[in-house]
Symmetry: D2
Subunit: 134 residues, 4 copies
């Protein structure tokens, strides 16, 4: 049981167990993806061919910021605003898809891009799954 | 001329002056609103009637996170992803409107809620204005 | 193997395996603690006795911000600035200790405070361990 | 009167006017510097000579994260923890000095580095001034 899971399970205002699973997965993937994107932007910056990775660094930076905000908003369960959650998940899904597409083009050359792209795809799917329940 | 303005004007990849004005205003209002919401959440927390301000604190926390992410994404002009920018602006506009509505209900009682609501409304408008140009 | 671990192992500029272990643990605990503190602030906000949890919400909010910044800075391994890393780890250790002390006082009453306090203590220790290697 | 100023003046738990001035200046400079560093990292990334700006981008990224966290922590005035504020100001001052030193080396070539270096130096000074009052 992860800490995020325990935090969710001990929250005073929490819904059904099934909704919790999808929510928890989305929180964990947002948090993981934010870290992966921050690390990938920096790893790209450390490569000799940094000039060819400019778009990748940009996509990573945006995706990191948006995943971090989404992970924080989803971690809050007291009086959530449905419209805010929904539009933010849409933005997070879009940022993850955009970053994954870019990272995938460098995945053969750079392992950090491959790992990051997979993390983005998992987060994109988790956002889509959570949106489907709202 | 603000620092944000100078940063935009000295960026190597920048569009027309008119687009710059609307973009700059949106960056500045996101940054201002993020700070105002962080401060308002904390000011509400410091009020004796904190129990009546729970929803306000929650709305402030989300709005602060989303405005901060939006201000950062908009501050980047190298290889932006249009779909990410558009969906994030939608989320920011939504969060600002939601936070403003809540803060407006306490504006007569708490000056910090009045100031914060006005900052949210300005940011909401700036997001809408920028969206209209995309 | 976590994603953070894979990101570290695939970075182009990385030191010895032993240093990596301590660094990785600190990154993961910062990221975990940031989420736990965001969730605990919100869980406290959702409790009937919110007025008694004001200091806890404040400590959580600061600790979340500082852990998030520390996790991001540590995730970057290209051209790190030793003095910045060292002073930030000191701030993170301090914020975690302060938040843990506060959460521990509510741990018997609120499970979320107990889980969060443990996460803060682990992060405090990880910062101290990493500081000892610098 | 800025919004940050109004938020501070309307906070229910606020000290003397003199302390407020120094605090307000530090909040505003942290917020300004975080935005400038985010924009400078991105402007550097958009330059043809990006490979020569790797260290600058790294310093900017760290400084942006730390200034944002510091601006948020300082914006909160309910039950502050003195040790956390002090160590964080130390980290922020250090990050600003390090980023300014690096940006200054490119200030003749890149206007965005000149503007950013000046913003970092102002924030470094504001942190030192606030530290001197604590």
């Amino acid at each position: 049981m992860t800490v995020a899971d325990q935090m969710l399970a001990t929250h005073p205002k929490i819904g059904s167990a099934a909704a919790q699973d999808i929510l928890l997965r989305c929180i964990e993937r947002c948090v993981e993806c934010a870290q992966a994107c921050t690390a990938c932007a920096d790893a790209c910056l450390g490569e000799d061919m940094v000039a060819e990775l400019v778009m990748c660094i940009r996509r990573n930076a945006d995706c990191a910021d948006i995943c971090a905000a989404t992970g924080a908003v989803l971690s809050r369960q007291t009086e959530p605003d449905a419209a805010t959650v929904r539009t933010l998940l849409e933005a997070c899904r879009t940022a993850c898809a955009s970053c994954a597409s870019e990272c995938e083009q460098h995945a053969d050359m750079h392992e950090h891009c491959r790992v990051c792209a997979e993390s983005c795809r998992r987060c994109e799917q988790a956002c889509a799954d959570l949106l489907a329940t709202l």
